[in-house]
Symmetry: C2
Subunit: 391 residues, 2 copies
């Protein structure tokens, strides 16, 4: 770049008047101002608001509802009706959706909790994860239809961003059902395994548990250290004159937010404070993109087949365009499909360099009492429930 220079020795230049902003140039010296771009993005995101869809899965009584209420300081299951033993015999896996609008420091979050009551509770649980997988696929399909449609202005995005999967502490590690569930779903959704009711395990027992999560490729660094177990409770107890959330036993108080007792705080930090946006981005960029690519591949193959069949029967030589990939011919399409097949896309959480993951074997326990502990900064605006049962 050339060096700027003033006219220097020329004598006829008179300093002009500065009626206002005399120091403007000095203040803004050599500052274009595009450094404000992240702030523009920040402001627009606050104005628009956020949404997050969290799925909880695992057998009844492991404290799924309590953990969710503890995490978001809300009461999502006010009108929940627990089934009696007789009713449970005929119960099938259903999917329920609770949505709540919460606000904190001016930031609005539309939180949707997708629950799977009845999961793993039957005598024969063969393919009971199927309705969960179907639900996730249906949301992808709906979004694919919407984003391929004409009017994309008010698309409602119901894609599941994260699934907390609850593992029983009594199984000496993973049971076959757990393995099957995670095998079936880990390429569709970000799974965070939770070791439930961990206050029945001493630290030694926790450490000696064998949890071969080999198939879980969530993040390289935490490959060996998940699942993580957290203690949740919505009951406030007194400890050392302070009111803390925890569980009161004759032998002591389990404090939920004490990281020596459990790693509830670590889970919350990951899920809400540092990686909520990451979980959304991975859902959008990896899980959804994989689903979409498979869809397009089958559609393209179908159309190519149709076209070839029609070439034999039709009289006119007009060709149909291949849908969705405008401009690509047969060979290009097949090449793209091959490339895509070869490219194994695994879910991979983006690693923020300033945040070092430190997930040990964490302990979690989930209290049965689902009392809400709603703070002042949490404003409930609306709450509605939508229930979907598989046909």
């Amino acid at each position: 770049a050339s060096t700027p220079s003033g006219p220097g020795g020329r004598g006829w230049g008179q300093p002009s008047q500065h009626p206002r902003d005399p120091h403007l140039f000095d203040q803004d010296k050599e500052y274009v101002g595009f450094a404000t771009l992240p702030n523009q993005v920040h402001r627009k995101s606050v104005k628009k608001g956020f949404d997050f869809t969290l799925m909880v899965a695992g057998e009844s009584g492991l404290g799924k509802s309590t953990l969710v209420n503890s995490l978001f300081l809300t009461d999502l299951y006010k009108d929940r009706k627990l089934l009696n033993a007789e009713e449970r015999i005929t119960q099938t896996v259903e999917i329920t959706k609770h949505t709540v609008d919460i606000e904190e420091k001016g930031v609005k979050l539309k939180l949707t909790i997708v629950d799977t009551p009845g999961f793993g509770d039957a005598v024969n649980n063969t393919e009971c994860w199927k309705s969960v997988a179907d639900y996730i696929d249906q949301q992808f399909e709906q979004y694919f239809r919407d984003e391929s449609g004409l009017n994309r202005k008010n698309i409602q995005d119901n894609r599941v961003h994260c699934c907390l999967y609850f593992i029983s502490p009594f199984g000496h590690g993973l049971r076959p059902l757990d393995v099957e569930f995670m095998k079936a779903l880990h390429e569709k959704v970000n799974i965070v395994p939770i070791l439930a009711k961990a206050d029945t395990l001493t630290p030694n027992e926790l450490n000696s548990m064998s949890l071969p999560l080999f198939w879980f490729d969530f993040k390289q660094q935490i490959h060996d250290s998940i699942p993580f177990a957290v203690i949740g409770s919505n009951t406030v107890v007194e400890a050392k004159g302070k009111r803390v959330r925890g569980r009161l036993y004759p032998w002591g108080i389990v404090e939920v937010e004490n990281s020596a007792h459990c790693d509830f705080v670590k889970l919350r930090n990951m899920l809400v404070r540092t990686h909520m946006q990451d979980l959304k981005d991975v859902t959008r960029e990896t899980h959804y993109e994989n689903y979409r690519a498979h869809c397009i591949q089958s559609m393209t193959r179908m159309v190519v087949k149709e076209r070839n069949r029609n070439k034999l029967t039709r009289e006119s030589g007009t060709d149909f365009p291949i849908p969705v990939i405008p401009g690509a011919n047969d060979t290009e399409t097949e090449k793209l499909i091959r490339e895509k097949d070869e490219e194994v896309q695994r879910p991979h959480l983006e690693c923020e360099p300033e945040f070092v993951w430190d997930w040990g074997i964490l302990h979690i326990e989930l209290s049965d009492s689902a009392q809400s502990n709603c703070g002042n900064e949490c404003v409930h605006v609306t709450e509605h429930t939508y229930t979907q049962s598989p046909a």
Copy 2:
């Protein structure tokens, strides 16, 4: 929500030990943490970096290059070769693209300037805006192909986010060519009209200029106050002992960044510091969506026509799926098309309530000397030029 309560009178609870984090609960009291979401978005946007594509249009010599260099404190036209009178006779409108990576306070911006040398310079300028409109459409088309394709990981987005259109100060307002240009393009791109070389006009002359920009629906509030004129200069002169960018005349110094002299600062504030992200969002959500809807409508109509023709000739009754709108049948598709046709989408910049627009008739003057004035915070990383001529 129910009120949380401790066990109260039960006597056997002992306060537990607090080996670490004794104040954790108090510090984080009733704070979930999703208020960090905008910061997560902020951090990710900085990490990813930004891009912006700015088009400049207007006849030669109005100072387009100087204004761009003044705005971004860079030197985008180092290797520009000015044509002589003979060469200009055969010159047609071409489109050149300059890209520069600049950085400011850790924020990276990939700035692309699309220039239109030769625009309006010929004897007969009939439809000389056509190559500009074609260029914009081509970028939309390329993006439509890319976002409809299988692999959407590394899409390069070349859509034009803003067009600075330079109006000559000698025309007593808009000339027919100006009107035709803006009529043809204002539904494809955000146009910001610039009154060039405004230091040839006194404030009274500026105010009396008739500029009927009725067709420009950029923003309701500024409907009456655009175009705005700005003075640009890359030459540093001394005024009152201070070094400022400006133009030195025997009768005084025109200071570029003095808002009593001109509104260069206002243009820069709008374009870079407050509404750069808005211009990108309007391009994406309105201009591109309109282009895409028209594309889909023609494709759908074509396929429906094909299908009907084939129904007469084909023996098999198999139907082809309509491309791009999976699941929609003929009637739905036609209904959607009708709805879309009825919905007149006009470009509309989002109004930030905290930012009140204050565009008067601004004065701009564009110095001829295209000297770069590159500050310390501007780091040039790469620069490449790509030239595209219409066939």
